[in-house]
């Protein structure tokens, strides 16, 4: 979780650096009196990298809280027992002979 937050902060810093480089580039263009058509290629790459890092951090921090395993045989996901088939439950089993606790009553 802390790692994902750090990745997010890093992504934001990269975006700020890209913005600063674009401003510097525009200053350079003003000196050479050319039109500003778009930021240079490496700034575009830096922008997309910053975007990816920020999206990663947002996804892992908010949605769904943490990444869950999808393998059906992983330690967390493996099926351990089946539900008890309650539709066919019968009530005359040997548990009938156990004494009933007398203090169990529903108070009105």
């Amino acid at each position: 979780m802390a790692l994902d937050f750090a990745i997010g902060v890093f992504g934001v810093l990269i975006l700020f650096h890209a913005a600063y480089s674009t401003i510097q580039y525009r200053g350079l263009l003003k000196i050479t009196e050319e039109e500003f058509s778009g930021p240079p290629f490496n700034v575009v790459i830096e922008l997309s990298l910053g975007l990816v890092l920020c999206m990663w951090a947002w996804a892992s921090l908010t949605v769904p809280g943490k990444f869950l395993s999808i393998h059906p045989d992983s330690e967390k996901n493996r099926i351990v027992s089946l539900p008890a088939n309650l539709d066919f439950m019968i009530f005359n089993h040997r548990g009938k002979v156990f004494p009933v606790e007398m203090d169990l009553k529903l108070k009105q």
Partner: protein, 302 residues
């Protein structure tokens, strides 16, 4: 299907609630979601919530589901007065409800008045001829009265209409196994595996039935299904590991005099044996010598 995380969560909540902690409502919701049969605990903790007016009003509309859950748990623990009181409360709130009608018929069943319960179910079925739960309760009644062939007949009729109900297939398979009609039981488990191929416990039950039937083909298929169970559970199912070892030694015994081409079977068996030994060393080290002698006798007899 209860996964390992859910089982851990359940055990944690159970020990917390049993030792007088909070979280009874969470525990009851989890039991309801996982469809487990923990009637004594549900009854105790459910009544503690229902008898406390502040906790009861904190539940809001979920209160009635809790009444239903406690009523069924009370019937299972034979506290029929508690069940009757809960049903009375529900009847006052929902006077013409089919769900409450079902609960009343269930109470008649728990009391043992089979004819009255049968009459109640037939009248409920007249209004709703396709109600699955009532059909299933009729099967359960036949089973409770000891009329197992009648239960099988009702269940087969039910499955002709509702072929996709895997709970019913599972129940039919278990009934057939109890009557030692293994071929029919194998058919039921095949249906289950077809509809839900990723549940390892159906593979395990099918492999058990095939191993019980015996015969070379059945043993080879049983070994395949034991290995698929091991695959689907990540190697943690001890029964499947034992099943693989037993199947290999049984196959080797049958094919003793015949041609010995298949040596890859021995590899699976030795791997399974290794995993078993490691598992036992970790969880039950005092039983490890018994395990090693048993496994050795299996490989020696082959």
């Amino acid at each position: 299907m209860v996964t390992k995380t859910e089982e851990n969560q359940l055990n944690r909540l159970e020990s917390q609630v049993d030792n007088g902690g909070s979280g009874a409502w969470e525990y009851l919701c989890l039991v309801r979601k996982l469809k487990l049969r923990r009637s004594d605990k549900v009854l105790k903790h459910g009544l503690s919530i229902l008898n406390n007016p502040s906790k009861r009003s904190a539940l809001g509309p979920e209160e009635w589901t809790l009444y239903e859950q406690v009523a069924v748990a009370a019937m299972d623990c034979q506290s029929l007065d508690v069940a009757k009181d809960c049903i009375k409360v529900l009847q006052k709130k929902f006077p013409d409800s089919k769900r409450v009608g079902r609960l009343e018929a269930l109470l008649l069943e728990a009391k043992g008045s089979w004819e009255l319960a049968e009459k109640a179910y037939s009248s409920l079925l007249e209004d709703n001829p396709l109600d699955q739960t009532i059909h299933k309760r009729r099967v359960a009644m036949a089973k409770a009265q000891g009329n197992i062939p009648g239960a099988i007949e009702w269940l087969n009729k039910y499955l002709e209409i509702f072929m996709a109900d895997h709970d019913a297939w599972r129940e039919l398979g278990e009934i057939y196994v109890s009557l030692q009609m293994y071929k029919q039981a194998a058919f039921c488990y095949e249906e289950l595996i077809l509809s839900q191929p990723t549940v390892p416990l159906y593979h395990l039950a099918y492999a058990d039935v095939l191993y019980t039937l015996g015969g070379l083909e059945n043993l080879q298929t049983a070994k395949k299904y034991y290995t698929s169970t091991i695959d689907l559970t990540g190697g943690k199912n001890t029964r499947a590991l034992f099943g693989v070892c037993l199947c290999t030694s049984a196959i080797a015994q049958i094919t003793k005099g015949k041609s010995k081409e298949e040596k890859e079977g021995a590899q699976v068996q030795s791997l399974a044996a290794k995993v078993l030994e490691k598992d036992y060393k970790q969880r039950a080290p005092d039983k490890l010598p018994q395990l090693t002698t048993a496994l050795k006798s299996l490989t020696l007899s082959s």
